[in-house]
Chain length 347, copies 2
Amino acid sequence: MSVRSKLTLRGSRVDLGASEITTSLTAIFTRLGCASEPAHQVAEHLVDTSLCGMESHGVMRTLQYAEQFKTGYINPKAVPQVVTTERNTQEVDGGGGIGIPAMHVAYQHGMQIAQASGISALAIRNVGHTGRHGAFADIAAAKGFLTICVGGGNRKKWRQVAPYGGARGMLPTNPWCIGIPGGGRGPVILDFATSKIAGGWIYAAQSAGALLPEGCVIDAEGNPTRDPEDYFNGGAILPAGGHKGYALALVAELIGEAMLGPSTTEGNWLLITLDAHRMRESSALSQAAEEVLEELRCCPPAPGYESVEIPGEREREHREKSAGIVSIPKETWDQILNLHDSLNSSS
Amino acid sequence: MSVRSKLTLRGSRVDLGASEITTSLTAIFTRLGCASEPAHQVAEHLVDTSLCGMESHGVMRTLQYAEQFKTGYINPKAVPQVVTTERNTQEVDGGGGIGIPAMHVAYQHGMQIAQASGISALAIRNVGHTGRHGAFADIAAAKGFLTICVGGGNRKKWRQVAPYGGARGMLPTNPWCIGIPGGGRGPVILDFATSKIAGGWIYAAQSAGALLPEGCVIDAEGNPTRDPEDYFNGGAILPAGGHKGYALALVAELIGEAMLGPSTTEGNWLLITLDAHRMRESSALSQAAEEVLEELRCCPPAPGYESVEIPGEREREHREKSAGIVSIPKETWDQILNLHDSLNSSS
């Protein structure tokens, strides 16, 4: 699903209003069996993600989730719940559904606990795809919370990434997401895979007959390669930053599988939420952050770069420029409309 | 100070028993004005770090700390305290001394709170060099705690690292340290700088007349270079993993300076401590972790590598092989002995 956003599309695109798409997607998810709140949350999340320019995690995921409902991989009727475990800790049970509503509940509940006691830790279990974590982190950080969200446990399903020094794909691309209150232009959001490139790039290069960037992928013998076919013939993606990305991926896998496991639908997540304003008063924090960030924005760019970016600002700027209009590949939108029509006619 | 460990030494080394060195260093720190507990903690930490093979953070730091006492940069008489702030949060005040005793107090206190309430967040302030964080994380993880320690706030002092896409050194090498309970061979410890290489490498290359590895440093115009002189003439180190290491360094700087700031001696640290056994029973956690780790140890190595390592194991194996003997460059040990003698004669 994430291939198309990395390619120059051959077909045309259609421009649609965000609220129109949200209405259509909400109708689709409701017809597919979702309760009205989760249906709306997922639709809003996907549309907002497309508005932010992250097409691979946006509106096109509707088709993937519908397919996953059909095969029984995830459960459309799931409604996430905060539950208390046998070990007397609170956690979010996603009920085996799309992970986006569970993440909503987790960030909301995490903020409530942190507001009362300073910091909270919540496990999120029994979830499918959890969407764009940066979106949740951005909302929480704008309200004054530092969040760290990380998880794993899917290595048996997705052995895409080689450990540092290894010749085989052993780990998933286990992402990390951290949000922290920023200055005048909003929070700083770190939201990245621990691998050099996302798996989607490789499908994209294969489909386009293109070579991959240097130093990203190894073949089945562990030798560097740029040929996407080598990846599919037993190769692997390298970890970002060598042993550093590998260590981050491994910690994520241990959190998801060993500390919170065993993994179920798509692994387990840990969300840490800290009330930053317990540490420093809001306006002083914001002013000090702005000073750091403004220095970085003023850094002269290196050759080949236009400017130094602040992580999280690109997505917000894209959303603002979009002015409520999402540009969707026509083929994708046609498939979504077909899905919509088929669900209506079958009722 | 960190140069020598990266170079093949021209001079000879002396092999000394760890307890002998610890006694000497404790005597030195006591003579320099430290209270007996901090003096012993610092000595033990430095000797253990040398035993673990991390010479740049080991015994040789004695000379640096003594110099920093002399210039008034840090205060030998400091004794770290847990204090309650105006905002009614607990934190560790290092009193402007060496940061190692403050980190001891923070990890101990963090574990106490986490044991009682599941998770804790502590700021650590007014500290000089805080030593090898991996050592503290290893002890905590062996007791069943997940810890995350990160901080910053020193960019005005150490503008060594360029932001992603930037042509200037703007940020320090802001390290991250994470420890998590592991399997049969102990915890997994992530402890790394967010830059591609440590500053010490560049001094080492300069001193040896050697070129730097490719892709680590830029010159004053932001162009890639391997010449260490270019770094000293307005160049910068690149962030590890491109925009990913940059984002980690920036989050650390915002935590240290904006959320916990303003920075004092050497910036501020945030320590998050989570009781992992609240999430899962100890033996099940350990067994699941061992399964993940054993898979990775069995991964065939890539060409040029001997094996896939588990982060944290190298240091523990080095300590075990050392069998209580530290091999110190003779020149360093002579300087430490001279310091010891001068302190005794001046009394």
